[in-house]
């Protein structure tokens, strides 16, 4: 057991390091100034109810079990970490993962909105990556639509009695891909093609983003499975507070 634990940690570190040395160029997110003002406002407003729901759900989780705060920090850090790693893809360009699937699995989709906006603000202000004016649209795609898709997939797979690890994998994969579909949609609505309208534009943007993103979505799915294995091994108490069945019985005060 002991040597196994050490090995998992070493492996995860190597993984993180090897991903960190890949060439760094900008990727994903709608760039600063690229959405016309009225869409900036519209997406921003659309995010507000989700963020409010996220805040309340977060408050409830933490009130019920203060100890889950550590897992929350880890889920946030996971997003922070994954969205800083730009990985080369088969299309010859780089993109990065979202990391929102893990948070959605652990805390439910709305909570991830709060975590995501922190990551996006950091990148928008310091890195000129994404942007302040496109914050609303990017929050919606990465921290709201993606996590909700991931959570829905997870629930459906669990209902169908699919293997737990496969559930984690599919949820994170779909969450990541769906983020890019929404980004394409957002760009398509803002820049409809003259001949084919929004749908033609949508396909064009999707054709740029999707092939790059598919291998990365697979990586995110696998990484999420590894992280969940680590948590299930070492953080049984916290996971059972969050409603996971890991073979530990704990009385949760309602």
């Amino acid at each position: 057991m002991k040597s196994r634990q050490i090995k998992i940690i070493i492996l995860l570190s190597i993984l993180a390091l090897s991903a960190g040395i890949t060439p760094a160029v900008s990727a994903m997110h709608i760039m600063e100034g690229y959405l016309p003002p009225r869409y900036v406002v519209a997406w921003g407003i659309l995010c507000i109810p989700f963020l409010a729901a996220g805040y309340f759900s977060l408050k409830k989780t933490l009130q019920r079990q203060r100890k889950t705060l550590t897992i929350l920090a880890m889920a946030g850090a996971y997003m922070f970490l994954l969205s800083s790693l730009k990985i080369p893809s088969v299309t010859g360009s780089c993109s990065h993962m979202t990391g929102s699937g893990l948070g959605a699995l652990l805390f439910g989709p709305s909570t991830v909105g709060i975590l995501g906006i922190i990551v996006l603000l950091f990148q928008a202000i310091l890195l000129a990556h994404g942007g302040i004016t496109t914050l609303g649209a990017n929050t919606f795609s990465m921290a709201i639509a993606g996590p909700f898709a991931a959570y829905a997939v997870y629930r459906i797979c669990r209902k169908l009695k699919v293997n737990k690890k496969v559930c984690y994998f599919l949820a994170a994969l779909v969450g990541d891909l769906f983020t890019y579909c929404v980004t394409s949609m957002q760009l398509a609505i803002a820049f409809p093609s003259e001949t084919g309208g929004v749908s033609a534009s949508f396909l064009k943007f999707l054709a740029v983003f999707a092939p790059t993103q598919i291998p990365l979505a697979v990586i995110e799915g696998l990484l999420t499975v590894i992280t969940m294995i680590a948590l299930e091994t070492y953080a049984k108490n916290e996971l059972s507070y969050l409603g996971f069945d890991v073979g530990v019985k704990i009385n949760v005060k309602e």
Binding site: L11, T70, G76, F80, I125
Partner: protein, 105 residues
Amino acid sequence: MSKNKKTVIILSIIIILIALIPIFLLKNAKFGGSDDAGSQVVSEITGSDYKPWFTPVMETVTGKELPSEVETLFFCIQTGIGTGIIFFFLGRFYERSRAKEQKES
């Protein structure tokens, strides 16, 4: 070897392969960001070079585009913060379950 350990090792190898193979296969590719590809499509659809109507905050403050070395620094800081938090807590969890095991045995 436990089942979990095997899974973790196999998955890690697959991840590394997926991430690294494109670099070796596509010798001529530049590996630029898909963001830039996105802005090209915008120009293509609108028929002219789209002028972003807002410049990033850092560029406004410093008056120039962020040097790529400094950008790498910021990205490393982001990676570092994320990795630090995850493994700090994972280390604590690990120590905790080890202590519990020793107590029981």
